[in-house]
Point group: C2
Chain length 401, copies 2
């Protein structure tokens, strides 16, 4: 396929751009464009927040057609709680991009992230779009990744290459997210691109599973945003014939997709506002997988647990208490709790101060795992969370003032 | 009834003590005793946390008898996640107190608050109880109030005097709570005492309503503790004949009870760990009262909302977004949001920068109200919350290390 040398994040048939449209000010990049040179099959998941930002309404409309050619993302303004004008602006953005790219407005999905309640400055969007179209390049993903950031400390990209039918394929992802990170989702934008051709049902099923185990398994602050979007585009440019669930290569695609989604999701946790730790909450022995996830989220969201992570304090009592109020039933006198591989609770009772000292050392790492075994069944689930820090308070208390 | 001059918090038939048993160390008071000179009718609500501390198991047993003579509270150690020994210790505490006071162990309710997972030092309890019994005094409530505190910055007491049948009665409350404050409840201990005689069903009903509108309408950190207890004791020492729901004086009792519960609950929010603001989230126009409370809690718990309160930033977008993910349905384009009396959102759209400047001034106060009108029905509810501050992180990251 690729005759010239590929950049790390290029993939056949896709071009990218990230430019400054002046929305954020100070010349910061804030307008990204992703374009497929042919119609790409598209599936997407959007925020479940009742207050849907205008671009979500545009996106839900656009995705109905089942295929897309372009994605426009602006940062700095979420175009949320902006009334009917906001919705008109989202559709006008799609229209302006379509005109430039000579495609249909229905083939353009628009995303926005940033401040809520501020009308989008359409002059800036209209000025920025031609610049973005001009900058489109197969090597431009890094620029696009920068242009979709808000309070993020670093851009989030990941690429996986695989082989199916003797031909290589790629799955490449770009995402943003640092605050309002929660399941179902939270100004969390993720665009996953592949040059495979995929049967729609299989594509949707695989993406749903991948999103569930990644973007829907992390939490930073427990707040669900108005703008979340996870989009998968498959343009078939690899030349590999269309895959369905039963195809020999489908497992390879899923592995690549899962890795890209999970890597991006973990980057969001690492970049959680003010975060200094990435902690995996692993719950096993629950009655069901769903129960395990509920317990894991109760722990992962607990302010008391998250501050104890920041303090590197092996305060397993807070973990135990959060499991207790999760709403799931279990027998506390059977529960085991581990920090890393250090058992702190066995059969509901503490293992003592020496173990806590060991756990404290484990917690000095920037990444560690807390395991809770409920001994009530075979359900298990993982959720990734960050610590709650002075930095979090600083970032969010001073966001606008 | 009272021949000698009453102290501010005395009431007929009750005596109090607060002493240091050495659990907290440094001579700090940590053991409280409340005694009624006659059997007092008792109703109580306990934590819904699955991980119930040992004293909760003792308390649930004790309350079955329907009347109590004494309450023992220790601070510094929650006696939670302490296995079977913890349960034996809670019952042994009741037994030791009963022996000293020459009453039945079944007439003693035990509460504990403090660290989780540390065995209770029964030697200290056994040494402290005689000192507490000796210190019992009708003027001792202030001492008892100090002895039940943990991270609280100040003791929490409130007294109301009323008149029924031409005779005066009192409702006096003492409480603690600064962290793990959440509905259903959170190391939140509240003991409400009255010298009225009350019919059991009416007493239970009135207390449930009072608790719902007070201790179950506040949040500090969203964590539900293992040890919460709200207890109402009615010893009848006022000489006023027993009240039922239909009694002429019942409304006067309820007003007093509601005021005491609400005042204590608000003191808990004011004393929320690290808190600098007390904010009332008032949701109206919801489909039901229950829906209103759910929306109010989603807002009151939001880390993003709470940090914006700390920053005095009228970031109504976060309030709106939290309402959006509360799980309740409403039409965002009809919603109004006020900070104090300043409208920031009208019919789903922002009212502009001048209003925000006004709202910012409102937020400089240590107490203010945020009103959200969903325009979807007649349900309304209030929830009180604190701000999320550097102080909160400091207190909870450094609790034990």
């Amino acid at each position: 396929m690729a005759s010239k040398k590929k950049s790390k994040f290029s993939l056949p048939g896709f071009r990218f751009a990230g430019v400054s449209a002046g929305i954020k000010g100070k010349g910061k990049p804030d307008l990204a464009l992703i374009v497929s040179d042919r119609p790409a099959k598209a599936v997407a998941f959007f925020t479940v927040n009742r207050l849907k930002a205008a671009p979500i309404i545009q996106g839900q409309r656009a995705i109905r057609g089942g295929s897309l050619r372009a994605v426009v993302v602006n940062a700095g303004n979420a175009n949320a709680a902006t009334g009917k004008q906001g919705i008109r602006d989202a559709f006008a953005t799609a229209q302006a991009a379509a005109k430039l790219l000579k495609i249909s407005p229905n083939e353009v999905l628009v995303s926005s992230t940033g401040k809520i309640g501020v009308p989008l400055d359409m002059k800036k969007i209209r000025r920025g779009l031609p610049a973005a179209a001009k900058a489109l390049s197969s090597d431009g993903l890094a620029q696009a990744a920068r242009a979709i950031l808000t309070t993020d400390a670093f851009p989030k990209t990941h690429a996986v290459t695989g082989k199916i039918q003797g031909k290589s394929f790629r799955v490449v992802g770009v995402a943003k997210g640092a605050g309002m990170i929660e399941p179902h989702m939270a100004t969390m934008l993720a665009y996953i691109l592949t040059d495979l051709d995929l049967e729609r049902g299989a594509m949707r099923w695989a993406f749903r599973r991948a999103v569930e185990a990644s973007f829907h398994s992390i939490t930073v602050d427990g707040d669900t945003s108005t703008n979340d979007t996870a989009l998968l585009l498959a343009n078939g440019a690899s030349g590999i014939s269309a895959l369905r669930e039963s195809s020999a290569g489908f497992a390879a695609f899923r592995r690549a997709l899962d890795e890209v989604c999970r890597t991006l999701a973990l980057k969001m946790v690492q970049d959680g506002e003010g975060a200094t730790k990435e902690v995996e909450i692993f719950v096993r022995g629950a009655k069901t997988e769903r129960a395990a996830k509920r317990v894991a989220y109760a722990i992962a969201r607990s302010q008391l647990v998250k501050t104890s992570f920041f303090g590197e304090d092996p305060n397993w009592g807070r973990v135990f208490a959060a499991a207790g109020y999760s709403g799931e039933t279990f027998d506390p006198s059977r529960v085991d709790i581990y920090y890393g591989s250090v058992p702190l609770v066995r059969g509901g009772s503490p293992t003592g101060a020496a173990r806590e000292a060991q756990a404290h050392r484990e917690m000095r790492k920037s990444r560690f795992r807390v395991t809770v075994d409920l001994k009530a069944g075979r359900g298990q689930a993982q959720v990734w969370t960050s610590d709650l820090t002075y930095g979090y308070v600083k970032i969010n208390a001073e966001y606008r003032t």
